[in-house]
Structure formats: C-alpha cells, structure tokens
Symmetry: C2
Subunit: 325 residues, 2 copies
C-alpha cells in the first residue's frame, strides 16, 4: 500500500474552506506544508501489520497528523521560530493570536477524527490521545524548563532528564501512532505494547540522531548550516554528554565558549567541536543511537504480524538511524 | 442539591500537584479563581431536571468548566488582559508561553473528563464537546475579525454578525452544558433540544445585558467603572444599534467621538451616552434583552421534567436578566 498517497488523499478530503477564513485558512496552510508524514505512516503500517487499513485507521492517522501539526504551530509561537519546512511559520505569516487560535482548533480537529472512529475502539482511542497529548505538553514544558536551566546547574542527572524530555516530546507520539493503528484492526494487546516500546526507543534514537547531525552531519545533505545547536547554546545530547564527561578545567573552557557572545560563529563551532572530540562525544552519542535502535528492534522482534509488513518497519528504523538529514 | 459545593468538591478532587510544576501550577491557579461556575451549574441543573446527578454528570460538569477556563486563559493572552476576576491573569503572572501551553493542557483535561463518562453516552458527549469547542473558537475568531473591522464598514448587517458572534462565543457553551447534563441522565432528545434552545437565547440575552450594564449599570454594584466599552471603542450591541439607527450626521458625530483619542474618558462616555439616549439605544437594547429572555423561557416551557427543578432554571434566567453586575 502506498502510505504517503493514502495520507495525502485523506488530508485532501478535509474541507478547510470554511468561515471564518482567518481560523481555517492557517490550518489548511499548516497541513499543506508537507513534512515526512512519519507519524500517520506509522499508524497505517501498524494496521497493515495485523490486518487491513480501514476507515478507523485513516481517522486515527489523521488525528495523529493533525495533533502533531497543532504542536508545531504552538511550539513555533513559543520558540518564536520564523520558518518551518522552508516556509514562514503561521505566526510569522499571520500573527501570534492567529497561531494560538488556529492551533487550538487543530487540537479540537484531532479529537473530531477520534469521534469518527467506530464504537468498538473509539473510547480506547480517546484515552490514548488524551494520554499522549498530555505527555507531549509535559515534554514541551520540560524542554522549556531545561532551556531556562543555567549551565552551571547541569550535572550527571541532566542527561537522564533530557532523555525523559525527548521521550515525552517526541517518542510517545510515534509509539502511540503505532498503538492506535494496531488498535483499529484489533491487534492483541501484547503486540500493541511491544509495538509501543519499539516506537519509544525509535523516537529516542531519532532525536539523538538529530542532535548528532547538527554537529557531525554533512552540510550539503543536512540542508542547513552545521553547528546551529552549538551557536544557540542548546542543551543537546552532545552538550550534556560533554558536560557530564568533562573534568573541571574542560567544563570551564566549554562553558566560557558557550557564554562568549562575541566569538565568531564558525570559530565557536570549531572550538566546541574540538572539545567534543577530545571527550569522545561523537562515539558515545553514536553508541547511544545504536543502543536505542537495537532496543527498538528487539521490541519489534517480539511483535507478531505479517512478515513483509514487519520488514518495512525494520527498514524504516534502520533508515532513520542511518539518515543524513 | 447544593450545586456550587458539589462543583467545588469535584474541582478540589483534581490533583494538579504534578510534575512539571510549571505546566500544572497555572492550571490550578486558573481553576481556583472562582467565578460564578454558571456553566457546570447548568450541567447539574439539567441532570437534576430529569433524574439524579451521577458520576457522568459530574465529569461533564468538570469538562465544561475546565474547557471554559481554557478559553479564558487563551483569550486573555490574545486580548493582552492584565487581570481576571481581580487577580493577575496567567500570562501576566507567568508569561505568554506558560499561558499557551497550560491552556492547551486544560483543553486536553476537558477531553479527559469526557473519557471518564460511561460508555452509553461517552461518544455523544465527545461529539458535543467537539462541536461546541469548534463553535467557541469560531466565535472568538469572529470577535477578533469584528474588532478589526473599521467603523466605516459597520452597516445594517453588522448587528446580525454580532449576534451570531455572541451565539458562538457565549451561548453555545451554556446550551451545551444543559444538553450534556440532560444526556448523562438519559433525557428524551426533544427535551434536550428545547433545553439547548433555552441556553442559546439565555446566553444571547446574558451577553447583551453585559453590554448594557457597562453603560447603564450602577457603578457601585457593577464593580467597575462604567463606560469601559465606550472608551475601548468596543463594538457592543449598543454601539452597533446606535450606528444602525443614526442618520448621517449623528453617525459622523459618533464616529468622530470614537476616533478622538485626546478627549477625556469621562467626557467621551458622557457624549456617546447622550447620542445613545437620543437614539433610544437603551430602550431598544432593553427590548432585545427581554425578547431573548422570553424566547428562552418559551423554549423552557416546552421542556418536561420535575417542576421544582424547572422553576430553578426559570429563576436563574430571570435573575440573569435582572442582574446588576
């Protein structure tokens, strides 16, 4: 089954040419902007693994995709991000109020999709969306809290907090996408739970890979200037690993570099990278990515289902691990 | 049944002392701030009319109250309002990002309450919340659109747009509160639909009364300085009525007054009020309030249910019509 066109067709069937235009126009804009459509794909793939994609599966895929784009809309306001997927963000193209209200409406539209799911699994789907939506908000709050945390307070526990933050902010939605898809075709609960674990570990590995690519990716393939996270002083897996591994002197060196607003960007990136290298941050991070991918794959191993569809999920996991952008 | 203490007890049973504190703290703050608790009261009253308040009724009442407070949180960000019910708003006490994210979580918490409703009416309750939530967002967007509309473009149709806006922004939530309450005790659908009409008309009359009190209320009882809407240039029922009734010359006079930023507040209020008086705006508005209250009461007349509980709803309607604040 061609997942991407199935999702695109489902998205196209939604009518946003409704009044008031200032409420629904930005929703259409946000949902047209493409992206990998990874999450709704996972819904469909999980359903395919145990049965046939049905109207419930499609509604669940739409709920997950609309919910995901709602979080992007509000996150972009909170981060004051000017662009998303190469286009102006909603709050830049319109304004903050529009992004807030249209975002709210998108969250409601996600729940509308749940209400279209047939009665035998609607209630469970509702509980799953409630749970994951709560966790994503908690993850976003942890992210903001972590951003405000002064570097001096970063200690051995911060890396654990970071993993918990990305579990909530990213992983649970991938995991729930799989779980929802499986639910819509009546998969056994053991399989749902193993699929969920697959999603959690896949998500964590995906996010750490993101941090890795920002520093050690190939510029042309990555599509943006390397070292953006370093310049922004973002508390990534790499930085937190470096701070956890550094001795007192190196830690001070690293913090001085991060606090130095005068230093040219390229120089800052180069020097921070040199410290990362001296602390084997690339290897340690690479190992972490491999470990989470392995955990994901062993959870998937325990899942029953059609072999060909299972192979697709394995390929996806390996593809995400080895991606360059 | 003591509705207010039942609601307070239900609200107190919710646990907001959860991590991350920056997400849940503002929710606790927003829900502690009191208010009339009119909407959850309507849920309980409607249930009482046909049966006994049960755990589904309480969950529905909480869903409605949490949803209502979610809209206040985000509206206050959008309007940049500094205070609400005599206390700093969430975005003033914390910041915009906190108000956005905690507001999102409140919307999710409203849906969580729906998921606690038992299976025989959960699905219908979900659809009702989806419908009303959408309408409230549409109403808020219409309100923002109306605010941006230049006075020169206000014409005979604007009053109709205004009524539709307050129907969506205020009335539908009152109406749905009643409908949900009735649903949780299995009331007949004819009765639900008449109760809904009662709520719609009650809400419109309530909102027009609000506009009226701002100009013709008694200052001590009203609790804030009169004429606030006039100074803010708000397009209220009174102003739109005046603009619809004024001849060319009076219209120009009124618009000049509204555009005059130099004029002292008291003088502006006095002169605008004089124009209102010359156009019988007070009488016309008073008639509108009476008409909507009458419509509300005749819809209620058609509703079956226990006489004593019905009398309580009638009293509430008359009380709201004759209120001074």
């Amino acid at each position: 089954m061609d997942y991407i066109s199935h999702i695109q067709q489902a998205l196209d069937s939604l009518d946003w040419k409704r009044q008031p235009l200032n409420l629904y126009g930005p929703i259409a804009y946000a949902l047209q902007s493409g992206g990998k459509r990874l999450r709704p794909q996972l819904v469909l793939m999980a359903a395919d693994l145990f049965g046939q994609v049905n109207t419930d599966t499609t509604a669940a895929a739409l709920a997950i995709e609309i919910f995901h784009n709602f979080t992007l809309l509000h996150d972009d306001v909170m981060d004051n991000a000017p662009t998303r997927r190469g286009r102006p963000t909603v709050h830049y193209r319109w304004d903050d109020n529009t992004a807030i209200l249209s975002g709210d409406q998108m969250l409601i539209e996600a729940y509308k999709q749940i209400s279209y799911i047939s009665s035998q699994c609607q209630s469970e789907a509702l509980s799953l969306l409630n749970k994951v939506a709560t966790e994503v908000c908690e993850g976003q709050q942890m992210d903001m809290d972590l951003e405000r945390l002064s570097y001096d307070k970063v200690d051995g526990e911060t890396l654990g907090t970071y993993i918990e933050m990305i579990r909530l902010k990213t992983s649970v939605l991938l995991a729930t996408a799989l779980q929802l898809g499986a639910l819509t075709v009546g998969a056994p609960s053991d399989d749902c739970s193993n699929l969920y674990d697959f999603g959690i570990n896949l998500g964590i590995s995906f996010q750490i890979e993101d941090d890795m690519l920002d520093v050690y990716g190939e510029e042309q393939v990555f599509g943006k200037t390397l070292g953006g996270d370093i310049c922004a002083g973002k508390k990534t897996y790499l930085l937190l690993t470096a701070l956890a591994r550094a001795d007192w002197k190196t830690r001070k060196q690293l913090l001085d570099l991060l606090h130095d607003d005068e230093l040219a960007k390229e120089k800052k990136v180069k020097e921070v990278k040199a410290i990362y290298d001296s602390l084997s941050v690339r290897n340690v991070t690479g190992d972490a990515i491999k470990t989470y991918t392995q955990k994901a794959l062993s959870a998937l191993q325990k899942v029953n289902g059609k072999p060909q569809e299972k192979q697709q999920l394995i390929s996806l996991a390996l593809q995400l691990e080895q991606r360059q952008h």
